[in-house]
Every structure is written in C-alpha cells, then in structure tokens.
C-alpha cells in the first residue's frame, strides 16, 4: 500500500439526516474518513452506528427521506456534492462499485445475469450487445463462476446465495472501479462461503489495484482483511488506526469494550458486557455519545464534545485505554464438566426427519427431503450441548423435534426417562413443562397484539399452573430474573429492542420451570455488546436453576463459549461430537476443521491455512450423497467414503474414515 499523497476518497465533516414520520434521525454527524489508493479500509460498528449510511451517502443511495446535509465527499480531490448530475452518475457508475448485504434480493429477478452484469458497460461506455456479453462471461469467470458462458443467460433465482454474491461482485468489477464498497458482503452467507467471498475480494483488490471499503459488524472479518479500521458509534467515527495497531492497542473505551465482549475473549469464563443501549439519534445529544454506557465516563465526557485527535492512530476519548489490551483469543476456559454420573435429561436415538418435497400440485412425485438422518446424542442435567452447522444442516429441525413441535419420522426422543412417542395426549401436554423453546427472533415469536404480561402468563395458563395471584407473582419473579423492570408488563413487544426481547423470550421459556431449554440461534440477530448481555444471563440462570441447554447456532465462537459439549452437523448428520474445547481446538472431522478455519478470527496475526478450504456448494438434501455426506466436498475423500462412517470414539466421537487426529487421551 504505497501511501500516495492524496487519498482516493476523503470524507470531511459528512453529516446525513433521515427524515422519518416522527422527527429526523441524525444518522451521521461530522464523519471524517480517508481511503487511500489500493488500501482496504474496514468500517466496523453495531447496527445504527452509521457505517452503512456512510457508504450509502458516498454512493448517493440513501433511503427515502435521507439526505447529506453537510460536509464534503472528496473523490480524487473533487467534491461529489457539487458535481453536476450526469458527471456524478458517471463517477459513481464507472469509478466506484458496490456490493450489498443480501445477495438474494439485490439482483433484478427478471433480468438475465449477463444483461445485469454488463449493464454499466452498455450505459456508460456504449459497448455493443455482443461485446458486453463477452465481457460479462469474462468477468464472471474471473469471480469464479462455474460455466460462466451458460450462467450469463440464467436468471438470479437459479443460483445459490454465494453464487449471486459473486454476480454482484462481477457487476461491480466490470467497470474496473477504483473504489469498491462492500457493505456487509458476507453477513447473509455461511462461514465457508463467507471465506470464499472475502478471499475473492482480496485477490481482486490486488489484481484491479482498487481501494476497498469493507463495512461490517464483525471484528473478525475486519481483522483478517483490512489495512486500516474505522470504528463507528452512534453516527460518529470514534477511532481509526491501522488494523494491527487497533487490535493490539485499542484506545477508545468503546472499541475496548467491543473487543472484550467477543465470546472469543472470554478468558475468565464470563463475557465483558456493555450495559444499556445506543442513544436515540433523533434527539439532541451532547458530549461523548458512549458516555452513558461507559464505565470510565466523567461529567466532562457528558458535556464536552470530544473530537478525533492523534496522529495516525486517532481516537475521540477523554479517558483512553492507557496500556495495550492483550487480545487473548482464549485457549479454552474449560468449564467444570457437568456431573456426568446423573441420568441424562434428554436422550435422542437415531432421530430421523423427512419432508415431502414440492408439496404443491396434485401429485407428490418430487421425493423426500432428508432433513435429519439418524442423529443420536444425550444431554445431562445442568449441561449445555451446542449444535453447530451451516444453514440447511438440520440443526433447527433437531431443535423443533426435541421441543415436540413436529413429530419425528423415526427414532426416539427420551425426555427424563420417557419416550415422548409413547405418551398419550395428556402426558404429552405435560411433557412441555420440561422442555421449552427459545427463538432467534423473539419479536416474531410473540403475538404483537398481546402485552408482555399476557405473553409471560400464557405458558402458565396453558399448563394450568397456579391461580391468578400465583401467576402474577411468578411473572414478576421472571422479570427480576432476566433483569427487566415491572413496567415492561404493560407494554407490547414492538416497544422493545432486540436484546430486551431476547430477555423476555428467555423469561417466557423459564416460566414453567423447565429442565431443558432448546435455544435456536438465540443471539444471532443481536449486536456483539447486547449478545454478551444475553449470553451472560443465560449462563447465570443455568447456574442458578440447574438448567440444561441445547444451544443451536451457526456461530462456533458463541457455541464454544456456551457449550460443555459440541455436536457438529452436516446435511442432516452429526459428523463430530465431543467436549467443547476439544472439538474447537483439536477437531477430528475434516468438515469441522474447514468450518473452524473459515471463521474469521479477531486476531490480525492469524492467517488460516489455505489447504483446508472447502470448495463447492452444499449438496441438496433431496437425494443427498450416499455414504459420508461430506465426501463430495472433502479434500480427503476416497472410495471407501461411499460407505457410511459410524459416529464412534470415547467422549470425542467422529464419523469419518480418515479422522484428522486420534482422540486426545482422557485428561
């Protein structure tokens, strides 16, 4: 990255407002940023921090009601705000390119891929139709599309999410832009696909010698890919530095808190959490915007505006971190293993679930989707079993089956010694007291027309627990347990933030005093700081109440933090199962290894080994591969893998003909 004299893009005191029905949100407040030729700038922040608004302001793509109200956007020394419209369109169309978050919706569904990719050429350079098509094929090949000459004539819905994101990238690149803006380009994708896409962007940056702005909420993504990082909070840049410097020695208290809140850095077995919520940007704010949530804030912080200061490493904090914070990517906190002598609260034997495919129409000839194919595990009292896997691996289906929401096609689910399939209606009804579910999106899981009061009372009513007074007392107790004020009872779900809703969701699952809670991605929709609050709460309550959890997540670091044991699922099967620290630090299945390698680590020093990258796409669960289902993508696969491997071993089991390591001797 040679530092040429003039930055390619410079934002000077950029301010952006968004007019809503009720008042104006000051989404950006005097944002200052620079991007140099050929470098990758990472912009990191939580939702509402203004990171996306910053790049949308640059691209002129602000949502309805949004407008840049102050400052300059200097691209190559020229202010985009004063540029005439046609010229501006040309600059944005030719010299900049943008990749969006959701590849499923960011392509025109009724336009052929080739036409969409080549459209900028046709518009800005007047290229002929035939040549445009050729160039589209060329660029699609470059971004790693298989059979690009066929795909140009396809429509978006015929491609997978990862492939569509490649198309969006190709579309941005066909103009050979000098600046590529990627707004959460991999958030909607699975980790293995995420890794492929991030690597692609890296390669292309060098090849096309462009600058890249990588916007993300994920510190891990930034750490591995960016040269410099800007941290945003509540519409402002609070800290900028080179990536190594920032991760080695963050200075702003918010940055520090954010890093400590990562599950990876939970050294002492407890996450550092940031109390409270980000401020409401439609109100006038004074002082440091993080002050209300900061443990180091003084009166001065609350009253004086703090500007970015420093040379190179700039930060806006009156009480910065003095000494470097060692980012300990924890080496495993070795939770005290649950008392393994007790009888398991849940035992699952050879669980199978199949669905009819293509249910529409008169005849159902399309076949059966094998969602869960012979899964066995058990959960001890007080234990947390983590289940990880990518989308479509069947982990959520397992959760729904265990919670009794759907009947299994085959196998046994034994709760507290009783096979639930043998229960009669009343006993089955009663069984729900023992197992409860916690959802990813608590807002969707709560009736929008019921007050929190009724929402929390509902399980008690259904199971006819206690009289009205007893139920009221129980609801108050639950609110105390999850740390919400009594006033919450009179309100409706839409009045709460995501983190608060997860607390209410947890309170509801606790209402019946269950012994097991199945938590399906309970923190996936939350920001890091709020995620830490919820995870801590879940662990505290587990200790207090002796709960067991089945914790389902796609996020290995979260599962690593929460679980005693981890099961890894791939395409309906458990491929590995063992104590959490062993599965994460000494995986035995090639898929687990690939999954771990794909997880971006918030440690800029660590580079993943390239040889374990898995290529290709997840096969369809309709007619899955025979034998080992991973063999079609496995780097180690041989003929014998066509026979099905058995999940075997001591405490650390693996279903693989060629396990990566032998089981570690029992400690």
């Amino acid at each position: 990255m040679e530092a040429s004299s003039e930055p390619l893009l410079r934002l000077r005191d950029l301010s952006t407002d968004i007019a809503l029905r009720r008042g104006t949100v000051h989404a950006l407040d005097h944002v200052n940023l620079e991007v140099n030729q050929g470098e990758t700038l990472g912009i990191v922040g939580e939702s509402g921090s203004g990171k996306t608004m910053t790049v949308l302001s640059v691209m002129g793509l602000l949502p309805t009601g949004g407008s840049v109200v102050g400052g300059e956007i200097l691209f190559d020394g020229r202010d985009l705000r004063t540029m005439p419209a046609p010229e501006l369109r040309r600059v944005r169309g030719v010299e900049m390119g943008m990749v969006f978050q959701d590849p499923l919706t960011s392509l025109n569904p009724t336009m052929r891929i080739g036409a969409q990719v080549a459209e900028p050429l046709r518009v800005h350079q007047g290229v002929s139709k035939a040549e445009a098509r050729e160039r589209a094929v060329e660029i699609l090949r470059r971004v790693g599309m298989p059979r690009p000459d066929k795909i140009v004539d396809d429509y978006p819905h015929q491609l997978s999410g990862g492939m569509r994101q490649r198309v969006v990238i190709a579309m941005a690149l066909i103009r050979s832009p000098r600046l590529l803006i990627a707004d959460e380009p991999t958030t909607a994708l699975d980790v293995t696909t995420q890794r492929q896409i991030l690597e692609l962007i890296d390669d292309l940056r060098e090849e096309f010698r462009m600058a890249v702005i990588l916007v993300t909420h994920d510190l891990g993504v930034i750490a591995g890919r960016a040269d410099r990082v800007a941290v945003m909070y509540a519409g402002r840049v609070v800290e900028t530095a080179t990536t190594t410097e920032l991760f080695r020695a963050p200075r702003h208290r918010y940055t520090e808190a954010l890093m400590r809140a990562l599950p990876e850095s939970a050294a002492d077995g407890r996450l550092y959490s940031i109390p409270g919520l980000p401020p409401d940007l439609s109100r006038p704010l004074t002082g440091c915007r993080f002050a209300p949530r900061c443990r180091f804030a003084t009166d001065e912080c609350r009253t004086t505006d703090v500007a970015l200061t420093g040379d190179g490493h700039k930060f806006a904090c009156l009480h910065p971190v003095a000494e470097p914070v060692p980012i300990t990517v924890s080496t495993g906190h070795h939770r005290a293993a649950a008392t393994s002598a007790a009888d398991p609260i849940l035992t699952v034997r050879d669980l199978v679930k199949e669905y009819d495919a293509g249910g529409a129409g008169l005849r159902r000839t399309a076949g059966r989707v094998s969602a869960v194919a012979g899964v066995s595990f058990d959960v001890k009292p007080g234990e947390t079993l983590g289940i990880v896997g990518e989308s479509g691996c069947g982990k959520s289906t397992v959760g729904r089956l265990v919670a009794g929401l759907e009947p299994a096609t085959g196998g046994q689910i034994i709760v507290d010694g009783t096979d639930i399939a043998t229960l009669d209606r009343r006993a089955r009804h009663h069984m729900h007291r023992k197992v409860q579910l916690m959802f990813q999106d608590s807002y969707a899981a709560m009736n929008p027309r019921m007050r929190i009061d009724s929402i929390l009372t509902e399980p008690l009513e259904i199971q006819q627990v206690g009289d009205a007074a007893a139920r009221r007392a129980r609801v108050s107790e639950l609110l105390d347990q999850v740390g919400l004020p009594r006033r919450a009872l009179e309100r409706y779900p839409h009045e709460f933030s995501g983190g608060q809703l997860q607390r209410i969701g947890l309170a509801r699952s606790l209402a019946l005093r269950p012994r097991l809670i199945v938590a399906d991605e309970p923190v996936s929709a939350l920001d890091v700081s709020v995620q830490a609050q919820v995870l801590n709460l879940m662990r505290d309550l587990q200790g207090e109440l002796g709960l067991s959890y089945v914790f389902i997540s796609h996020d290995l670091s979260v599962v690593d933090y929460m679980a005693d044991r981890i099961g890894v699922m791939y395409l309906g099967k458990l491929v590995e199962m063992g104590p959490a620290h062993q599965v994460v630090r000494a995986p035995r299945h090639p898929y687990t290894q690939a999954l771990l390698d794909a997880v971006p680590s918030p440690d800029p020093g660590r580079t993943p080994s390239p040889d374990t990258t898995i290529r290709g796409e997840l096969p369809s669960a309709l007619n899955p591969p025979t034998g080992c289902r991973f063999r079609t993508r496995c780097p180690l696969a041989q003929d014998v893998c066509a026979t099905e491997p058995v999940l075997e071993g001591g405490p650390h089991q693996v279903a693989c003909h060629f396990p990566l390591r032998q089981e570690a001797p029992a400690a």
């Binding site: 919520l277 980000p278 919670a403 729900h432 007291r433 929008p448 509902e458 004020p485 839409h494």
Partner: protein, 293 residues
C-alpha cells in the same frame, strides 16, 4: 433501530395508539364526518322536517326547488325531494351496513374453516368460492332479484349472499399465513391446543384485516343497491333509496329537472367515499400497530 426509552415513552393502550394513528389520517376523519353527517341527515332529519312520503300528490309534480315550501322541489309523483332523500338515505345506509356485515360474517366463517381445515376441505371450499366469483356479481344479483321480489331484507340477503366471496378468500389467506407464525409455534411448544391458537392468536391478528375489508364491503354494497335499482330491480315505491332516486332522475335529465338527479348522485358518491376513507384510515391503524418503532 433504537428502542424507545422506557422512562420517556408513556404507556399507552392499544386502543389509544390506534385512535391516534387513525386521527393522523385526515381523510379518515373526513370520512367519519361525512358518514356521521349523512346518517344524521337520513335518520334524524325526518324528526325536524316532516313530509308525506307515502301518498303521491299529482297536483304538485316537478315543482322547482324553493317553491311552495319544498326546498329541493318535488318529483314526478309529487313527493318532496328533500324528505325523500332522507328516506332513501335510510335504506341505502341500512342495506349497505347490513349487507356488508352479513357478507363479512359469512365470508369470515367460510374462509376461516377452509384455512384451518386445510387439505381437501380447503380445496373444495375454495373451488366453490372460485366458481361463484367467476360469475359476475351483477348478473347473479339480477338472476336472484328476478326470482324473488326485492324488499329491503331481501336485498340485504341477496347482496350478502354473494358479496361474502371476497372476505372468504381474504380470511382464508390470513388463516393460512397466521397458522405458520412463530408465535403460534411458540404457543404449541408450551403445549397449547389448536383451539387456543385460533382464539388467542389467529383471530386477534386477523380481525384487523377483516374490519378494514368490511368497510369496503359496505361501500360496495351501497353501490350494488344503486345498480340493482338502475336495472329495475330495486325496492318498489313508496320505499326509496338513493340509487333508485338517481335512476329515476336519469329519465328526467333532459327535461331539466336537475334537482332529481344531482342530490341523490352526490349523496351516493359521498357515502361511498366516506367508507373508503374510513377503510384506509383503519388500515393504517392495524398496520402501524405492528410496525416496530
């Protein structure tokens, strides 16, 4: 994005919130005002302005407005036009409301059963709806009206008996989507029954759509009465309705009796507009309540 700060946002009930949203839509308020005015005119008007709307008076036909104590003149058989407007309004409003209500109730029950039962019951019930919907409504109404003599209750039954198809489709669609909502799943995870899902979750969430649709049904029913009257199958005199008065007025157009034409025409337009405005306002209410932030 950001959550409301509990300390600052006052606790407000759902009705209150809904009311506020409704009032924000100025056209909805205009709609309510129009409806109140027209209803008061039709039902309370006769208390203050008494006229004979039963006996014809052939000595006083086609009096121009203002003459002989008839502010809006008289019609071809000597009825006082202003008084007749009041009488006609009663029929139009009553038939509209009753037929709209009937259609909504029948449609909701039909659609709900189809939606909850699913499988072949749903298929059969919805094909019946499809079939009836493919018969253009006015043709059906006329067919029915040619079989039975139209009286006010009969009109209500005839219109209600065929206008329920729209609500049926709507409610069935709602039931199908609401059934798969996560909060219904959450309730089942607590051991709740299907009956509880319907009572506590599906009906309260579907009711908004039904109410909004009902207001549009009323507007449509008022128009249908007008069409049937125009086609000669309205309520026979001495009963009256705005649609019938308007159709009668048509034949007088070219003789310059404008007072027989425009007042009922404008009255119909206003009442139909009123229900449309109210419906739009209610739609806002039910949507905004669900909107986060």
């Amino acid at each position: 994005m950001t959550a409301p700060h509990e300390e600052e946002a006052p606790v407000r009930g759902m009705w209150r919130q809904g009311f506020e949203v409704f009032c924000e839509n100025r056209l909805a308020l205009v709609g309510v005002a129009l409806f109140v005015l027209l209803a008061a005119f039709s039902f309370l008007g006769p208390l203050f302005y008494q006229t004979d709307q039963v006996h014809t008076d052939l000595t006083k036909v086609f009096l121009t407005p203002g003459t002989d104590g008839h502010p809006l003149g008289t019609d071809g058989v000597g009825y006082d036009q202003l008084g007749r407007l009041m009488l006609g309004g009663q029929t139009s409003i009553v038939v509209g409301l009753a037929a709209g209500l009937l259609a909504t109730v029948v449609g909701t029950i039909w659609g709900a059963i189809a939606g909850f039962a699913g499988s072949w019951v749903d298929a059969v019930m919805m094909r019946v709806v499809d079939a009836m919907m493919s018969i253009p409504a006015l043709f059906l109404f006329m067919l029915m009206a040619s079989i039975v003599t139209p009286t006010v209750p009969m009109l209500i039954v005839i219109i209600g008996a065929f206008a329920w198809l729209g609500p049926a489709r709507l409610v069935r669609g709602e039931a199908l989507t609401l059934r798969t909502r996560e909060y219904v799943m959450a309730m089942r995870g607590m051991g709740g029954t299907g009956g509880r899902a319907v009572r506590r979750h599906i009906i309260p969430n579907a009711i908004g759509t039904v109410i909004v649709n009902a207001t549009f049904q009323v507007a449509d029913a008022i128009l249908y009465v007008a069409y049937l009257s125009f086609l000669g199958l309205g309520v026979p005199p001495p009963a009256a309705n705005w649609g019938g008065m308007l159709s009668d007025g048509l034949s007088d157009t070219f003789s310059g009796h404008w007072w027989l034409l425009y007042p009922p025409g404008i009255a119909i337009i206003l009442i139909v507009l009123a229900f449309n405005f109210i419906g739009d306002g209610l739609r806002d209410v039910f949507e905004v309540r669900l909107r986060r932030r």
